[in-house]
């Protein structure tokens, strides 16, 4: 079993935390949810008393009804599943490439010299600026979305992996070498755990970019997915569906971010800043 997995299981056994309970229950109880709830109540009230016309912003209850309607018809679930699959395939492809290149550039000067400058140049291109070109290349098929999401998540993961590896405490590396650790064992026991906090920061950034890119891409060039659902609803002035789509984005973003926090808490439990109850 890998060191990380071992840490994770040990931690979860001790604290009896499950992934889901950590994800849903904030360490601060219900306080973080107070503000969104207040906004929701005010919103419903102003819509019910006619202060807010439904063509501008439908009442939360109408949004809930739309959610129910689309769930029954299966439309919502299918579109959400398609978007989810697109997002994560892009994350896996772009993330794997970025992680591999970050490792190789962090560990080898030659690799860094030959690729880092190029990556830094390409990094400054906003990935959404590529949409016209991507449509020409791939049409509006799955490849287009996969390419855009992979491209977007690549840079934060690359940069943070690279930075994480480069900033591993050289004193620890020297110590490990003096105890006979080298090659893969040195990497597994010292370099990777030392770089992990930074790598996970990169992952969190990447998740934000992942949803952003996908939604824009689906809005412009797609025939399914949440972005497409919102765009076609706009054509029929179904503002309730548009608002529903936006809320689902918010929820998905929160779930993605929360998942990384849980991974951080499980795999970085040695780190004082990530311990349960620590102030971040």
């Amino acid at each position: 079993m890998s060191e990380l997995a071992l840490l994770a299981t040990r931690h979860s056994h001790r604290k009896r935390d499950t992934f889901v309970s950590l994800l849903l229950v904030s360490p601060n109880g219900f306080v973080p949810w107070l503000l969104p709830l207040t906004v929701l109540v005010l919103w419903q009230a102003s819509a019910s008393y006619g202060a807010l016309p439904p063509s501008i912003l439908p009442a939360p209850s109408d949004v809930a009804k739309a959610a129910w309607r689309l769930t029954i018809s299966g439309e919502l679930l299918i579109n959400a599943a398609i978007s989810f699959k697109r997002a994560f395939s892009g994350l896996i492809v772009g993330g794997t490439l970025a992680f591999a290149l970050g490792l190789s550039n962090g560990l080898s000067r030659l690799s860094e010299r030959s690729t880092d400058t190029t990556i830094q140049m390409v990094r400054n291109i906003p990935n959404l600026a590529l949409i016209p070109l991507v449509i020409v290349w791939f049409g509006i098929g799955e490849e287009a979305k996969l390419f855009l999401v992979s491209f977007g998540v690549f840079f934060p993961i690359y940069i943070n992996t690279f930075h994480g590896i480069r900033t591993v405490d050289p004193q620890l590396v020297e110590m490990a070498r003096s105890y006979g650790f080298k090659g893969f064992e040195l990497f597994r026991r010292v370099i990777l755990p030392g770089a992990l906090p930074s790598i996970l920061v990169g992952l969190r950034y990447a998740l934000g970019i992942m949803w952003l890119t996908l939604i824009v891409a689906e809005t412009i060039a797609a025939q399914s997915g949440l972005g497409y659902m919102a765009m076609s609803a706009r054509e029929f002035m179904q503002t309730d569906v548009v608002v529903l789509a936006i809320l689902i984005y918010a929820l998905l973003g929160k779930v993605a971010d929360g998942s990384v926090r849980v991974i951080e808490r499980l795999s970085l439990s040695w780190h004082p800043a990530y311990r349960k109850g620590a102030r971040l």
Partner: protein, 261 residues
């Protein structure tokens, strides 16, 4: 039992260290200029000197961390097996993501199996008085406790030679005295050869069989310390020797350049 007695009846099992004409320079600056030193198996040698005198460089060469020197260095274990040399640094250098016992087990190197390593690590931790702290993260320990874990990590592989680079330099006075007697005890029990770099004359006198003063890259003084162990700091002879060494150290300071601010 003294080291000499141990050597006579053959129970000393540390490594012997022989340095001949060791020279090391960094660019234009010459740090070591032909150091000759012979250390017997099981001996405890303290190296003192001004900062910048080359004592840490010498230590890094002996520990195998610096190979860009000229001259001859021979480290031989008495029983003919491969010499195990370990270094203890000024900082504990514990892996923050590994528990205390995992850190100690780390000292057995990458080949050790987990089960075996943990059994050895547990007894090494007990030897430094931290047997009950194995499951904790290093960052909850105090500075002195961390250094004791680092000592356990160095000792777990039963070294023939332990090289200590001011490992007690950052500790407070009381913790330091406790660590000194711990160090003396494990050295006595395990019989390894110990080389300690320190800038603390009292510490050198408390622990070492011999004190070597390095000055401008050369050995300026090589003084056997005849006192019986455990040593009492208060005695008259101890004080006289301390005075003698301090004078020698300060003399070497007056020869070095003054700093202009």
């Amino acid at each position: 039992m003294s080291v000499a007695a141990r050597q006579q009846d053959g129970t000393a099992h540390g490594a012997s260290v022989t340095l001949h004409g060791i020279t090391r320079s960094f660019g234009e600056t010459s740090v070591l200029e032909g150091v000759d030193l012979e250390i017997k198996p099981g001996e405890f040698v303290a190296i003192i000197g001004q900062s910048g005198s080359g004592k840490s460089t010498l230590l890094r060469i002996i520990a195998g961390l610096d190979n860009a020197y000229k001259g001859q260095l021979a480290i031989d274990a008495s029983k003919g097996h491969k010499t195990v040399a370990r270094i203890m640094y000024q900082e504990p250098r514990l892996l923050p993501w590994a528990s205390v016992i995992e850190n100690v087990a780390f000292g057995l190197g990458p080949q050790a199996t987990r089960h075996q390593a943990f059994a050895h690590a547990r007894s090494a931790l007990e030897a430094v008085g931290l047997g009950d702290r194995g499951g904790e993260w290093p960052d909850v320990l105090s500075g002195g406790q961390k250094q004791r874990v680092a000592l356990a990590r160095a000792l777990v592989s039963k070294p023939d030679l332990l090289v200590l680079d001011e490992p007690l330099g950052a500790l407070d006075a009381l913790t330091r005295i406790g660590m000194q007697s711990l160090l003396e005890r494990v050295w006595f029990e395990q019989g390894f050869t110990a080389i300690l770099v320190t800038h603390d004359v009292t510490e050198a006198l408390t622990l070492a069989d011999r004190v070597v003063l390095i000055e401008n890259g050369r050995i300026a003084l090589d003084l056997p310390i005849p006192f019986a162990r455990p040593r009492r700091r208060g005695s008259v002879q101890f004080g006289e020797l301390e005075e003698h060494l301090l004078t020698a150290l300060l003399k070497s300071k007056s020869q070095t350049e003054e700093y202009v601010i």
